[in-house]
């Protein structure tokens, strides 16, 4: 049990939250609600998993929220233009990949700090999304698109299926394949990775493409729910994605990543959000509780780390 907790320290607060909500509400522990929470968690977990690779490399991608919007707009307007839904989804994923590629190239080839480069693409892609949609809702009625959230293969909601597959693939890729190990290697010691001949730039570009594709996938899931795309969707999603990764325990500095942590982080955040809604909490308090949760998660880790050392070694800056 302690071993499990050490590997997945979020289980404890998650269980605590579940117990509190089970007592405080009579609807939390219903099948419908649990499915509801898990679907919401699954939808944020998918991009969170991609973002885990980015943070493991010691970098951020702030542009993901705008990618959500543009992917939705592109997919829906393609369907409106008469493309079959699978083709439209494919185009949207390609657009996500292209945004990721642009991020990767600007960062690796032009040497712009990831923070700023992706901040700039956040602004630009949002502009593209607004310009491309002309500010109009791109409304569709597509069963194929709806299947992304509404489908139930074997009775399991599709987003959960997607998230489980993504988690398994993400865990395998991160912990067992060269790609994942190289991502951690770059996050661990970038200079060494370069000198030892790892394809650093290619890996970095690949990670940004991965985040771009996942962002587009997120956009498709949102557009599947809403049956539309527009320039306003996905505002502020970048912080949502980063938040679940950070709460999940992936080091901000890079080098170490927790795929399972990211998934648990998504579940924890969505559980709390759902619980606050079940308790009819005003939105102001919802914000405060998410903020406090973030601080608490990292404070506990910080204190544990402080206890673990006696010789004062430098605490590296998080923001570098």
């Amino acid at each position: 049990m302690t071993a499990v907790l050490r590997r997945a320290p979020l289980l404890l607060p998650l269980l605590g939250t579940v117990v509190v909500l089970a007592v405080a509400t009579d609807s939390f522990l219903t099948g419908a609600n649990i499915e509801n929470v898990l679907v919401a968690a699954a939808i944020v977990a998918v991009p969170g998993l991609a973002m885990t690779f980015c943070l493991a490399m010691g970098e951020f991608d702030l542009s993901i929220g705008s990618t959500v919007s543009l992917a939705g707009v592109v997919c829906c307007s393609a369907i409106i233009a008469g493309q079959p839904a699978p083709v439209a989804m494919g185009i949207a994923l390609l657009v996500g990949a292209a945004i990721g590629l642009a991020n990767g190239l600007v960062i690796t080839k032009l040497g712009v700090t990831p923070f700023i480069a992706t901040l700039a693409t956040l602004v630009i892609v949002r502009g593209l999304s607004l310009a491309y949609s002309g500010g109009h809702d791109q409304i569709v009625s597509s069963a194929a698109l709806k299947y992304l959230v509404g489908g139930r293969p074997l009775g399991v909601p599709m987003p959960i299926v997607l998230a489980v597959v993504a988690t398994a693939a993400g865990w395998w890729a991160m912990n067992r394949t060269r790609f994942g190990r190289w991502v951690c290697a770059i996050g661990s010691n970038r200079e060494a990775a370069r000198v030892s001949g790892l394809p650093v730039d290619r890996v970095r570009i690949a990670v940004y493409v991965l985040v771009g594709v996942a962002g587009a996938g997120w956009g498709l899931l949102i557009s599947s729910q809403l049956q539309k795309g527009n320039g306003q969707l996905g505002m502020g999603f970048e912080l949502d994605a980063i938040t679940v990764v950070v709460i999940g325990g992936t080091a901000l500095l890079g080098g170490r990543a927790s795929i399972v942590g990211t998934v648990l982080g998504a579940v924890l955040i969505e559980t709390i959000r759902n619980g606050l809604n079940l308790l009819n909490t005003p939105p102001a308090y919802q914000r405060i509780s998410v903020g406090l949760l973030l601080i608490a998660a990292l404070a506990i880790r910080g204190i544990r780390r402080a206890e673990a050392r006696t010789l004062p070694v430098p605490v590296p800056e998080a923001a570098r």
Partner: protein
């Protein structure tokens, strides 16, 4: 002062200023009434609050961190200041803004120093907290400066000109002058740079990381408090949603100015010019009637271009600096460090 100037260090300090001058040179061609008194005043007035916070943020970035909570701080300071104005007029409004800013900064600082929460997460968390508090305080609707108080000295701060120069801009210049003295001419400023350059080496120079971070984050809070005075007297209203996304604008201005996100290097002149550059560019795009979707694309593009120049320069400079430019990663610590 004699200094070993190279093209690189010149660019560090003056690059963005040069771009600003260039833009100002072509501005009258593109926007005929750009230099009309009204328009010039407007450009200077509207960016003051951004500039003042950017001055404070320059210290945070120079120390190798940044403060994501400034948007929440601005909202909270504004709301509390408006409550203060309603209760006790100009003096209380000013005191309330500054005190709230300081309190926010100290809260951030204590989370970072006492609970060892990384600045990124601590300030991301307090961003939510400060905005949430602002919402709670404005549950009955946004706080406002009432129109019948238009003669109050506090309300006048935002609109007043001194010899044709808008008061918010005068305050901003004052803040930058003070910040420059603080950064370049005081022991504390030097310690901020030393700490940002190498936290470990700074420790052995007798620089206390905790005290320094306390100072830096409190300073950011105070700068938000001052900025609130120019902000709230211009828009007259605030609630929890005030200036959504403000934090990224501020950090973008600081980095655009030439201050390194890695810490250790800072240029207030660059920050100053970058703030004006963004304001001028925005003014030109707006007065040319460019649709807002395309305004975004242009502003994002400018950010990338300006930083590309910087990125390329660092990349192709001497081999020694290449190594440091890339030193995002760590080298293994000698000994059983963990």
């Amino acid at each position: 002062m004699k200094s070993s100037t190279s093209l690189g260090s010149l660019w560090d300090t003056w690059g963005i200023t040069a771009i600003l001058v260039l833009l100002l040179a072509v501005a009258p061609v593109l926007t005929p009434d750009f230099f009309s008194l009204d328009n010039a005043q407007s450009v200077l007035r509207e960016s003051a609050y951004l500039g003042i916070v950017a001055a404070g943020m320059t210290f945070a970035v120079a120390s190798g961190a940044f403060d994501l909570s400034v948007g929440g701080q601005l909202a909270l300071c504004s709301v509390v200041s408006l409550i203060g104005f309603a209760a006790g007029g100009t003096v209380l409004a000013i005191v309330a803004a500054l005190a709230t800013g300081l309190a926010c900064g100290l809260l951030n600082a204590s989370l970072i120093t006492r609970l060892s929460v990384p600045p990124f997460v601590a300030t991301l968390g307090t961003l939510f907290v400060f905005r949430g508090l602002s919402y709670i305080l404005t549950q009955d609707g946004p706080k406002t400066l009432p129109y019948d108080q238009i003669g109050s000295p506090f309300v006048k701060i935002g609109g007043l000109n001194v010899a044709g120069v808008p008061v918010p801009f005068v305050i901003m210049v004052g803040v930058f002058a003070a910040a420059w003295l603080l950064l370049r001419r005081t022991a504390t400023g030097r310690r901020v740079l030393a700490y940002g350059s190498s936290p470990e080496a700074a420790r052995f120079c007798g620089i206390s990381a905790n005290r320094l971070r306390l100072f830096v984050f409190a300073l950011v809070g105070v700068s938000v408090g001052i900025a609130t005075l120019t902000y709230i007297t211009r828009v007259w209203t605030a609630d929890g949603s005030a200036q959504d996304g403000f934090e990224l604008k501020v950090i973008a201005a600081v980095v655009l100015g030439g201050t390194s996100l890695k810490g250790g290097k800072a240029t207030l002149i660059g920050t100053f010019s970058a703030v004006l550059l963004i304001s001028v560019l925005n003014d030109m795009l707006v007065s040319e009637g460019v649709p807002s979707a395309y305004q975004r694309i242009v502003l994002g593009g400018v950010l990338i271009v300006a930083l590309t120049i910087d990125g390329l320069r660092t990349r192709f400079a001497a081999p020694g600096s290449l190594r440091r430019a890339l030193s995002g990663g760590r080298t293994p610590q000698p000994g059983p460090a963990r």
